[in-house]
């Protein structure tokens, strides 16, 4: 098993820089999820760790040994690809054992390793088949098997579930997590699906435009997003944002929104009078209430019943907000309602830098 250190790593294609000074320390046995929108550089970073892309500057080390110039085969890492990348002309058994065969492992050792892996992944009856004769889920398992059988220092996953249907994805998600618990191998998992990130990661690395935006446990990132990007990217349904200006009132501050409403702000050392602020509020921290002193008038735009919960889209002036509730509110689209919020759960960001203003939450 291995710890991985990435220090000041950059990647450029000609004059186009795609990764800027990435610093990341991954502990032995940790499950790290790199998450971000398409083009944020997460897959490039993974491929650099695998040795499939050169590091333009900076360094990548495994167990404190710099591996920048090592070819992929000498890095002792295994990778699961989005397209599974199973060799079409080989059987499942040959696919799984290929890396061991290349390393000239004894036949008995290969056979027992393949047997072990196929029992863990339920591939026993499929070993003679070619990849084209397998379903998507089975191919995914074979790709996993091919990685596991080598007992590598680290596992790299490049969006391995994105070709599966929603149900299978959910099942595989928990299987990968259980497998990680069993093998306790250092794993780096790339996804653009923030639910995968939240449910699987020991730590999430949120990336955007080639920069790491925040590193933290899933709940840290959810509860204290470092900036507007992380706040908007993590969480489904996504966080609501309201723009306005902070005004000192009495002991604290309130937000004078661009729409002319007032929202009482939690305490924060970063707040200043007349500061432009972006207020973030998660849909589950908004509720529909009777008219009161701290409530905002709103119009119901859309109601999305989801069985367990309901998502109500409302408009406060020009601001569109989503409200998540476990109730089944008895209101119709177009109705005038009032919306309130949990003050302690509000997130504040400096509108100029889009960075989080710390509050005591």
């Amino acid at each position: 098993m291995a710890s991985i250190q990435i220090t000041e790593a950059t990647k450029s294609y000609g004059n186009t820089a795609v990764l800027h000074g990435i610093d990341l320390n991954i502990q032995d046995g940790e499950f790290i999820v790199l998450v971000g929108p398409s083009g944020c550089g997460k897959s490039t970073l993974l491929r650099m760790i695998a040795g499939l892309e050169e590091v333009t500057s900076g360094s990548i080390s495994i167990n404190e040994r710099i591996i920048n110039d090592l070819p992929p085969r000498d890095r002792d890492i295994a990778m699961v690809f989005q397209s599974y990348a199973l060799y079409p002309h080989m059987s499942v058994e040959e696919n799984i054992s290929y890396a061991m065969t290349l390393r000239k492992s004894p036949k008995e050792k290969i056979a027992s390793a393949v047997n072990g892996v196929s029992s863990i992944l339920g591939l026993n009856g499929l070993l003679e088949r070619r990849p084209k004769a397998l379903s998507g889920g089975q191919r995914q398992r074979v790709a996993m098997g091919r990685a596991i059988v080598r007992d590598p220092q680290a596992f790299l996953f490049d969006e391995p579930l994105s070709n599966l249907d929603a149900r299978l994805r959910e099942q595989m998600r928990s299987e990968i997590r259980k497998l990680h618990r069993k093998l306790n191998a250092t794993s780096i998992y790339v996804t653009h699906d923030q639910i995968e990130a939240m449910t699987m990661a020991d730590r999430i690395v949120a990336m955007h435009d080639g920069y790491i935006q925040q590193v933290g446990t899933p709940l840290e990132i959810y509860d204290k997003p470092a900036n507007v990007f992380v706040a908007s990217f993590i969480g489904s349904p996504a966080m609501n944002f309201i723009k306005g200006t902070a005004s000192a009132s009495g002991d604290g501050y309130h937000l004078q929104t661009d729409q002319g409403h007032q929202i009482i702000l939690p305490e924060s050392s970063g707040l200043k009078d007349r500061m432009d602020v972006i207020l973030g509020v998660r849909p589950e921290h908004l509720m529909i209430v009777e008219e009161g002193p701290a409530s905002l008038p709103a119009t119901v735009d859309l109601i999305e019943p989801m069985g367990l919960s309901t998502l109500v889209h409302v408009r406060v002036g020009q601001d569109s907000l989503k409200i998540f509730t476990l109730d089944r509110p008895d209101i119709a689209e177009g109705t005038q309602v009032h919306v309130s919020y949990i003050k302690e759960k509000l997130h504040m960001f400096d509108a100029r830098t889009e960075m989080r203003l710390e509050s005591p939450v």
């Binding site: 499939l52 992929p72 085969r73 990778m79 599974y84 990348a85 060799y87 002309h89």
Partner: protein
Amino acid sequence: MITQTPKWPVYVLGSVALVWIIPLVGIIAMSIRPEGEITSGWWTIEPFTFTLDAWREVWVNYPIGRAFLNSLAVASFATVLPVLFAPAAAYAFHYLKFPFRRILLLILVNAFVVPNQVVIIPLFKLWRETGLIDTYWSVVIPFVGLSFAWAVLLVKNFLSNFPRSLIDAAQVDGCGHLRTYFFIVLPNTITAMAAVGILQFMWTWNSLLLPMLFLRENATLPVMLSTISGAYEPNWDQRAVATIITSILPLVIFLFFQKYFSADGKNNSGSKG
């Protein structure tokens, strides 16, 4: 509601197909009738005399067997070499980074636009000086050289649809470039290799110009075919026989390998769509 397929397209397509078959029927008819009966057109029915004289005469008067073997040797060498080496060059141009890659590719593509006729005289001088005239190599070398441009481009184009992740997976699994090429890329490039092989075999088998200039004793079938028609005797029946003999092997090869032409070139590595 499922409607029945209309019948008229079958008749229309059948008639069009017939147009393509008529010359074949004509050649066969000419080869099995005396020359006197076909001078006014092979399609005349009266009189119709079945005879294998033309076949016998061609077999006795011309070294058909020898010419067949010469053609087979020339076409085989000229096919096997590009089939083996064009994918290797295509792999290198597509996946490897090396100095002057683009310029080398441009030079290679340049050979694509060089017609046979341009190289004939310099080659003739070269072969005469090196003593290669009337050896298989005098035609195999230019055949291979001239085919390399389109063969490399064809395979390179095929590789642009080849899943990059298979190469990546092979590298992570422990393959170097040679092993990746031989054990991962080649087995999945059979469609492209078959296409190169079939086209190259047909062209070299049917080629007349270079073998006629460079080969004497080792003449190929098309060269021999051209000698059958004399200045005063058209020998239509014997020419028909020679045409049939010349066409048989490419036809058999095409029938055997045609599935690779229609086969889906996409590699089913597991990804959807």
